[in-house]
C-alpha cells in the first residue's frame, strides 16, 4: 500500500518472474548500481529499499525480490499482498520466461491490489543475438493488460532507473483514485447476471 504523507510516499514493490530472469540483478543495479555475472540464487525472498525523488514527491521503495522457482510461487502472495507496485521480469532470450511473466500478471490481476502499478520488464536486452521475445510482442501484451513495458539490462544499466522512475511517477497518480473498487463491483455483478442468464 502506498502511503502518501507530505509528499513522502512509502511504496511496497515486489519483483516477480521466472528463475534467472534477472530480478535480483535488476534490484542490485537499481539499489547499489552493481552487477555480477553470477548472482546467487535467491531463496525465499530478499529485501532492499531505495528512495527516489520524482517531481515534487519522494518515493521510498520497499522492494521484495522474490525467488523465481515455480514452487516458491506459494510464498509469493505473502510478498505481493498489499504491494503498491510490481515489476514482472522476463528474460528476452527465453520465451518460457515470458509465458511465466504472463502467468504472474494474471495472478496479480486476480489476487493483487486493483490499483497496483504493474511494470513488465524484458531484461537482458543487451543480448541482442539471443533474443527470443520481440519488443512488439511484449508491448502489445502490456497494452492489452494495462501494464507498461520496458526493455531493461541490468548488465548495462539500460532502462533500470527509468523503469523504477516510471513506477514512481505513476504511483501518486493512483493515489487520489483510492476507491474505484466501488465502480468495479457493480460491473462484476453485471457480468454475473449476463453469464447466468446465458447459462440458464
Amino acid at each position: 500500500m502506498a502511503t502518501a504523507g507530505n509528499k513522502n510516499i512509502n511504496a511496497k514493490l515486489v519483483l516477480l518472474g521466472d528463475v534467472g530472469a534477472g530480478k535480483s540483478s535488476l534490484v542490485l543495479r537499481f539499489v547499489k548500481d552493481q552487477f555480477v555475472e553470477f548472482q546467487e540464487s535467491t531463496i525465499g525472498a530478499a529485501f532492499f529499499s531505495q528512495t527516489l525523488a520524482v517531481n515534487d514527491a519522494t518515493v521510498k521503495f520497499e522492494i521484495w525480490d522474490t525467488a523465481g522457482q515455480e514452487r516458491y510461487h506459494s510464498l509469493a502472495p505473502m510478498y505481493y499482498r498489499g504491494a503498491a507496485a510490481a515489476v514482472v521480469v522476463f528474460d528476452v532470450t527465453n520465451q518460457a520466461s515470458f509465458e511465466r511473466a504472463v502467468k504472474w500478471v494474471q495472478e496479480l490481476q486476480a489476487q493483487g491490489n486493483a490499483n497496483m502499478v504493474v511494470a513488465l520488464a524484458g531484461n537482458k536486452s543487451d543480448l541482442l543475438e539471443a533474443r527470443k521475445v520481440t519488443a512488439e510482442e511484449a508491448q502489445t501484451y502490456a497494452q492489452e493488460n494495462g501494464l507498461f513495458f520496458m526493455e531493461t539490462s541490468a548488465k548495462t544499466a539500460a532502462n533500470v532507473k527509468e523503469i523504477f522512475y516510471e513506477i514512481a511517477r505513476r504511483l501518486p497518480r493512483v493515489q487520489p483514485t483510492e476507491n474505484p473498487t466501488g465502480m468495479v463491483l457493480p460491473d462484476r455483478a453485471m457480468d454475473r447476471t449476463v453469464s447466468s442468464s446465458c447459462c440458464a
Binding site: F47, M78, Y79, Q106
Partner: protein, 819 residues
C-alpha cells in the same frame, strides 16, 4: 584454523588460511560482505581460539569413547548396551587423566589431524565414498539408530539388543529431562514421517518401513554420554571433524545402499536413448519414464543454478561444480516428489565442501527427506505451516515487538521465511550458520530453526522497536542478522533460552495451523483457475475478432489453459461453438454437454465464491486504506501542531535571549555604577579620614594651646608675683637706698635691665626676671597671629608637634591605600 583451510581447499598447501585467502573471504572460503569485514576480523581471532579449545575438548572426548568402542566391538553385540555403560565410566576416567596430562592430548590432536588429512585427500579424488573414522563410530552408531533402515540385514539383532538394554537404562536415565525430551521427540518424529509417508504417494525410498519406533527412541535415551555429547555439540564441532560428525548425525552410513547413487547417475547416459530407459532401472527405484521426463525438466534449473551457487568459491571449480550437478541430479531422480528446489544447491555445495560426493548425497537425502520433509516439495506446505507456528511463538514471546511490527505492517514471515528455507545460509555469518547446522543435524528435526529465529528476535527485538517504517525495520533486521558474528552467544541463547520450544509442542502447533495453509492453497489455486478460465476465453474471443496476428501469444495461452486446467474444459467447451477451429477438438455429444453444463455451473459457483472473496479482500483493503488515511490525518494534524509549538518555542526563545541581553546590559550598567559608588565611597572615606586626622591634630593643638595658655597664665601669675616681689624689694631697696632715684617712674624694663646688669646678685631671681619680660613680649606679639602660635610657641614643644604631623601623614596614605 589449519583444519579449516585444509577442508576448504584441499589442493592448496597447508598455509595459514588468513594469508592464503583474499581477505574478502572468511576461513571457509565464503565471501564476507564489505560492511562486515571489520567485524569479521575482530571475530576471526575469537573463532580461532574457540576452534582450538573445542578441538581439544573433542579429541579428549573421542579418545575416551574410541577406547570403549574398540574394546567393545570384539565382544558380543547383544551385550553392547551394558558394556557401553561400563566403558563409559572408564572412558570418563580416561578423560580426566588426559585433562591432567597435556602431552597426551597434544598427541591425540596430532593423530586426529593426520587422520583428517588422509580423509581430506580423498574428497577431491576419485573415491566417492568414505567411512567415518573409527573414533567417531560410536557416535555414528548412536545417531543412526533413528534412521529407519529399509535394508533389514541387522535389524533383528539390533531390536534384540534394544529390548534388552532399554529396561535397565530407562530407570537410570529417567531423571534427566533432556534425554527424555529427546526420546519423545524421536517418537514424534517417527509418527510424523509415518503419516506423511501416507500422504505423499511414496516417492521416498529411504524412509520406507518405520520399524519399532518406540524401541529405537528408548535405546537412544539409554546412551549415557549423549548429554555430554549434546553439550559438546552446542559448543560447536571442530572443523576437522565437522564433515564426519555431520554424516554421523544424519546416519549416512546406515542410509546408504550400495550402488544406489551410481545407478541414479547411470540413468544419465540412458536418458538420451528413450527405449533403454525402462530396462535400465526397472526394479526397486520405482522411477519411470514419467519421473525421468520431470528430471530433465529440472536439469535446466539445476544447470542455471550451478554457477549461482557460492560464485567464486575456491573449492567450487569445474570439478566441484560437476560433482554438484551429479549430486543434485541424483537427488532429483531419487525423490521426484521434491525434485530440485532452489536452496538445495547451497546445501549440496556445503556438504560437498565437507565430505565425499556419495556421502554428501546420503546426507542431503537425510536432511531433505526427513528433517525437512514436505518443506521443499512443490507446494511447500510445511514451510508455510512452520511460518505460522513461528509467528505464534513470536507473538507469545515478544508481544511488544509483534505489536510494533503489526503497527508498521511488517509480517514476521517475510523475513523468517527465507531464514528457514535457506537454513540461515547467506543470512547469518558462516561461522554462525555452521554452528546452527551442528545442532540442527544432531537433533534431527527443525527445532533449532525455531530456537535460532527466536534467539535472533530476542537479540534484535529491542532495536527493531525503535524503527519508524516497514522498510527500516526489515533493513535493520536483515543487517543485524547478517552481522551476528557471535555464534556462541547465538547458539547458547537459542538452546538454553528456548527449551520449552521442542518437537512435541511444534507438532501440536503444526497440526493446528496446517489446515489453514492447505485451505488457503486450495482456495488460491481454485480462484486462480476460475480467473484464468474467464480471462482465457475473453482474450481468446477478443484476439479472434481482432486479427490472427497475435496468434502466437494466443496459442500459448490456449495451451496454458487447456494444459494446466482440467476444470477449464467447461469454459472452453462452452466457447467451443465459437472456437472449434482454434482449439481443434470439436466433438460435442449430448452427454458431454450435460456434464459440461454441470462443470460450467461448478465453475460459476467457484467464480461467485471468488468474487465474494475478492469483495471481502477489497473491503479489507478499503478498511486498511481508511485507517491509513485516518492515521495520515492524525499525523498531519500532529505535525501541524508540532510546527506551531516549535514556532512558539522559537519565539519564546528569542524573547528569552532578548531579555538575557537586556539583563546583561543592565548588569554592566549596575556594575559600573557600583564601581563608581565604590570610588566615591573611597573618596568619602579618605576625606573623612583626612578630616578625622585634621580634627585630631586640631584637638591636639588645642590641648597644647590650652596647656600653653595655662602655662602662660601661671607664668603671668609668677610674673605678677615676681613683679610684686620686685616692687617689694624695690620698695625695700628704695627704703634702704633713698639716694637712688626710682626707675619705676620711667621705662620699667630698661630699669630692670639696668638693675639686673647692675645687680648681679641674687642670680636666680635675675634669671626669672629676664625670662618674664621676654615671655610677655612674645605673648603680646602672638595675640595677633594665633595660628602660628604653636609653631613658634615654646622651644621644647615645637619638635613634638612636628613629629606628630609627620606621623599622621603616612597614616593617611595608608588609609588611602587600604580603601
Amino acid at each position: 584454523m589449519k583444519t579449516a583451510s585444509a577442508t576448504v581447499a584441499a589442493a592448496s598447501k597447508p598455509l595459514n588460511p588468513l594469508v592464503a585467502f583474499e581477505h574478502k573471504r572468511d576461513a571457509y572460503g565464503f565471501p564476507v560482505r564489505p560492511q562486515h569485514v571489520q567485524r569479521y576480523r575482530e571475530y576471526a581471532d575469537i573463532y580461532k581460539e574457540e576452534e582450538e579449545e573445542r578441538s581439544d575438548r573433542w579429541s579428549s572426548f573421542l579418545q575416551g569413547h574410541h577406547a570403549d568402542s574398540s574394546t567393545d566391538e570384539p565382544s558380543a553385540k547383544e551385550s553392547s548396551g551394558n558394556s557401553d555403560a561400563l566403558f563409559d565410566e572408564s572412558g570418563k576416567g580416561k578423560e580426566d587423566e588426559k585433562l591432567g596430562s597435556d602431552v597426551a592430548t597434544g598427541d591425540a590432536n596430532e593423530a586426529e589431524e593426520e587422520g583428517f588429512t588422509d580423509a581430506e585427500k580423498s574428497v577431491h579424488r576419485v573415491q566417492l565414498w568414505t567411512e567415518v573414522r573409527p573414533s567417531l563410530r560410536s557416535i555414528e552408531e548412536l545417531m543412526s539408530i533413528r534412521v529407519k533402515k529399509k535394508v533389514d540385514l541387522s535389524k533383528g539383532e539390533k531390536e534384540d539388543e534394544k529390548v534388552k538394554s532399554s529396561p535397565g537404562f530407562d530407570d537410570a536415565k529417567s531423571s534427566k529431562g533432556a534425554s527424555e525430551n529427546d526420546s519423545e521427540d524421536e517418537f514424534y518424529d517417527v509418527e510424523r514421517s509415518d503419516s506423511q509417508d501416507g500422504l505423499s504417494s511414496d516417492g521416498t525410498s529411504v524412509s520406507g518401513i518405520p520399524v519399532a519406533g518406540d524401541a529405537t527412541s528408548f535405546s537412544e535415551s539409554t546412551c549415557p554420554w549423549k548429554e555430554e555429547l549434546e553439550v559438546l555439540i552446542r559448543g560447536g564441532v571442530p572443523m576437522a571433524l565437522r564433515g564426519e560428525l555431520w554424516q554421523a548425525f544424519v546416519g549416512v552410513k546406515k542410509r546408504r545402499s550400495k550402488d544406489y547413487y551410481q545407478n541414479l547417475l547411470a540413468e544419465d547416459s540412458s536418458a538420451s536413448s528413450i527405449d533403454q530407459e525402462d530396462t535400465q532401472h526397472g526394479d526397486e527405484k520405482g522411477s519411470n519414464t514419467e519421473s525421468l521426463a520431470v528430471v530433465e525438466k529440472w536439469k535446466g534449473q539445476i544447470e542455471k543454478d550451478l554457477p549461482r551457487t557460492f560464485p567464486g568459491h575456491p573449492a567450487l571449480d569445474d570439478d566441484g561444480r560437476n560433482a554438484l550437478r551429479r549430486l543434485l541430479t541424483a537427488y532429483a531422480r531419487h525423490n521426484p516428489s521434491v525434485g530440485y528446489c532452489q536452496a538445495m544447491n547451497f546445501f549440496a555445495a556445503l556438504l560437498l565442501l565437507l565430505m565425499p560426493e556419495e556421502n554428501a548425497f546420503w546426507a542431503l537425502t537425510g536432511i531433505i527427506d526427513e528433517y525437512f520433509n514436505g518443506y521443499y516439495s512443490e507446494d511447500m506446505i510445511e514451510s508455510q505451516v512452520d511460518q505460522l507456528v513461528l509467528e505464534e511463538l513470536v507473538r507469545e514471546r515478544f508481544p511488544k515487538l509483534v505489536h510494533h511490527l503489526d503497527y508498521l505492517g511488517v509480517q514476521v514471515a517475510w523475513v523468517t521465511g527465507p531464514w528457514f528455507l535457506s537454513i540461515f545460509m547467506n543470512m547469518l555469518p558462516w561461522e554462525s550458520v555452521l554452528r546452527v547446522w551442528d545442532v540442527l543435524l544432531f537433533e534431527g528435526n527443525r527445532v533449532m530453526l525455531f530456537r535460532t529465529a527466536l534467539a535472533l528476535m530476542e537479540l534484535y527485538g529491542p532495536a527493531l522497536v525503535t524503527t519508524k517504517d516497514a522498510g527500516d525495520a526489515v533493513t535493520l533486521l536483515q543487517s543485524l542478522t547478517g552481522s551476528t558474528f557471535d555464534s556462541s552467544q547465538l547458539v547458547l541463547t537459542a538452546c538454553m533460552g528456548y527449551q520449552n520450544v521442542h518437537e512435541i509442542r511444534l507438532q501440536e502447533l503444526r497440526t493446528k495451523h496446517r489446515p489453514a495453509v492447505i485451505a488457503a492453497l486450495e482456495e488460491r489455486s481454485r480462484g486462480l483457475q476460475a480467473f484464468r478460465d474467464s480471462k482465457g476465453i475473453a482474450s481468446k474471443l477478443y484476439s479472434f475478432k481482432q486479427d490472427p496476428k497475435s496468434v502466437l501469444v494466443d496459442s500459448s495461452k490456449v495451451s496454458l489453459t487447456n494444459g494446466s486446467l482440467s476444470r477449464s474444459e467447461s469454459g472452453s467447451s462452452n466457447a467451443d461453438e465459437v472456437l472449434v477451429s482454434l482449439t481443434g477438438d470439436g466433438e460435442v455429444d449430448p452427454v458431454q454437454d450435460l456434464q459440461a453444463q454441470v462443470l460450467w455451473l461448478k465453475a460459476e459457483v467457484c467464480k461467485l465464491l471468488e468474487e465474494k472473496r475478492s469483495a471481502l479482500l477489497r473491503a479489507e483493503e478499503l478498511e486498511i486504506a481508511l485507517m491509513e488515511i485516518v492515521k495520515q490525518d492524525n499525523r498531519r494534524q500532529l505535525s501541524a501542531k508540532v510546527e506551531e509549538l516549535e514556532q512558539e518555542l522559537a519565539e519564546v526563545q528569542r524573547h528569552l535571549s532578548d531579555k538575557q541581553e537586556q539583563e546583561g546590559a543592565m548588569l554592566q550598567v549596575l556594575m559600573r555604577v557600583e564601581q563608581e559608588q565604590k570610588v566615591t565611597e573611597d573618596a568619602r572615606r579618605f576625606a573623612e579620614q583626612d578630616a578625622e586626622a585634621q580634627r585630631y591634630a586640631a584637638q591636639v593643638l588645642q590641648e597644647k594651646y590650652e596647656e600653653a595658655v595655662a602655662a602662660l597664665a601661671e607664668m603671668e601669675k609668677r610674673a605678677v608675683m615676681a613683679e610684686s616681689m620686685l616692687e617689694a624689694t624695690l620698695q625695700y631697696q628704695s627704703g634702704q637706698l633713698k639716694a637712688q632715684p626710682s626707675p619705676r617712674s620711667g621705662n620699667q624694663s630698661p630699669s630692670t635691665k639696668n638693675i639686673n646688669d647692675q645687680l648681679p646678685e641674687p642670680p636666680q631671681s635675675r634669671i626669672s626676671l629676664l625670662a618674664r619680660p621676654f615671655g610677655l613680649g612674645w605673648r603680646d606679639k602672638n595675640k595677633n597671629t594665633t595660628p602660628e602660635k604653636p609653631v613658634e610657641h615654646v622651644n621644647e614643644e615645637k619638635p613634638k608637634a612636628e613629629g606628630k604631623e609627620t606621623n599622621s601623614e603616612p597614616k593617611d596614605v595608608k588609609l588611602q591605600d587600604a580603601s
